[in-house]
Amino acid sequence: MSDKSTFWQTLLSVLSSFFGVQSERNRERDFREGRPLHYVLTGLLMAAVFVLAVILLVRWALSLAGA
């Protein structure tokens, strides 16, 4: 579980869950190889990134409007 490719797999799976679509093949792989804790932590991290992205988006929109 420590090799680099698996981290990307976890991240991609979390992002797919944000998006709402995941292929059956990846789902089976995740359930076979993954560890729940990794998904929870990556999920929390991505949730924080998402909130930050929304904040930045609003700031950017307001700066465009000159407010």
Partner: protein
């Protein structure tokens, strides 16, 4: 142009074309209003409406075509499969794209709506159960705006007129081509001040001040309503705006302040019992009858009867006190800031002499005016 025609999907697949003006006469669509903001709200509404129409045509078109094309009589066989990632990704990305495309112009309009800076006129709007108060903050002028639809129309004893429940005794007069800031709050429960022609709808919340603004482009009368369920007479507290030219507005301001001064002077002369009874009846019907009923009998369990009431027939000081200061924690409001000294004296006199109450004594406007003096008022509280 596609925009000027509206296509309604009739029953089944029949397509009918109706001109936009016919639709406007039918009054089912949003009003384009009379401000730049209301026009951009209207444009947004139409843009999104057409996007929805296009989506509906595509989705239902494909659905009906599929049903028809793959019907059983043609020997269609269902193709069993479980998932298709590519299709799922496509039908997720397309709606995201559409939503973002809608959000861009919508955000621009919202930002515009919230920009209350650089207003030339401030009007404070306060919601009361069940009327609005307008305060021209820089012009030392404030008044209440009450429903003026006659009660007989409400109780179906007379024919309902064109502006039934959308008419008031005093209009909110505003100048055109002027940036006006509204400061909204409430005296009791949450109300919402809504005028479709201006595309302004804002909650009036006790203890908070909300802001909104408008620049009216065309003189005219614009009507609105309270849009937040606020109790028994929620449907009886309309908004009527009279937009006039800037010169007319200045003239109106001067006249209104003169009338206010004349009223103060009137409190000083001596009023006869008959005069007070006459004015008192009018005040009673506009300010009190919603709760205590026109016949003074009230609503048992909610609003006490004034006919035969121990207070209305008892000590005049106690009667004056409850009308001026209300009773906290009940629907009985303090009327000291809502009515003039003359109106207060008249309505109290009326209550003591109407519906079989017959004390034969008048409460004089001068007597009330003394109680309303700011210093006396503060000492009392």
């Amino acid at each position: 142009m596609v925009r000027t025609r509206i296509i309604t999907i009739g029953s089944g697949l029949g397509l009918t074309a109706v001109s936009a003006s016919a639709l406007a006469a039918w009054e089912v669509n949003l009003t384009p209003g009379v401000t730049d903001v209301s026009r951009s709200v209207f444009d947004l509404h139409m843009t999104i409406f057409w996007i929805c129409v296009a989506i509906a045509l595509v989705v239902f078109g494909v659905m009906f075509w599929s049903i028809f094309h793959h019907r059983k009589s043609r020997g269609a066989q269902a193709h069993h499969f479980h998932e298709n990632t590519v299709v799922e990704v496509i039908w997720t990305i397309i709606p995201i794209g559409i939503l973002v495309a809608m959000a861009v112009p919508a955000t621009a309009t919202l930002v515009q709506m919230y920009d209350t800076s650089e207003a030339e006129l401030d009007v404070q709007i306060t919601g009361y159960q069940w009327k609005w108060r307008y305060d021209y903050l820089d012009h030392d002028l404030d008044f209440f705006s009450n429903l003026s639809t006659p009660r007989e129309q409400i109780t179906n004893e007379a024919d309902k007129q064109e502006n039934y429940l959308l008419e008031v005794d005093r209009h909110l007069v505003l100048p055109v081509d002027t940036k006006i800031r509204f400061l909204l709050t409430s005296n009791d429960v949450i109300h919402s001040w809504w005028v479709p022609a201006l595309a302004v709808k804002k909650d009036a919340i006790p203890g908070f001040i909300n802001e909104a603004w408008t620049v009216i482009n065309e003189p005219g009368i614009y009507r609105g309503q309270c849009a937040e369920l606020c109790g028994k007479d929620h449907g009886f507290m309309p908004v009527v705006i009279e937009a006039v030219t800037q010169d007319e507005f200045q003239q109106w301001l001067a006249d209104a302040r003169e009338a206010k001064a004349a009223e103060a002077a009137a409190a000083e002369r001596v009023w006869t019992l008959d005069e007070l009874m006459q004015q008192g009846e009018q005040v009673y019907l506009s300010a009190c009858s919603a709760c205590h009923l026109p016949n003074g009998e009230g609503v048992p369990g909610a609003f006490p009867a004034l006919k035969g009431s121990p207070i209305a027939l008892g000590d005049v000081a106690a009667h004056i006190d409850i009308v001026l200061n209300g009773k906290s924690g009940t629907a009985m409001q303090a009327f000291r800031d809502q009515l003039s000294a003359t109106e207060l004296a008249a309505v109290i006199t009326y209550e003591r002499n109407a519906w079989g109450n017959s004390l034969g004594e008048a409460v004089s406007p001068a007597q009330i005016a003394q109680l309303l003096e700011p210093t006396t008022g503060e000492a009392e509280q």
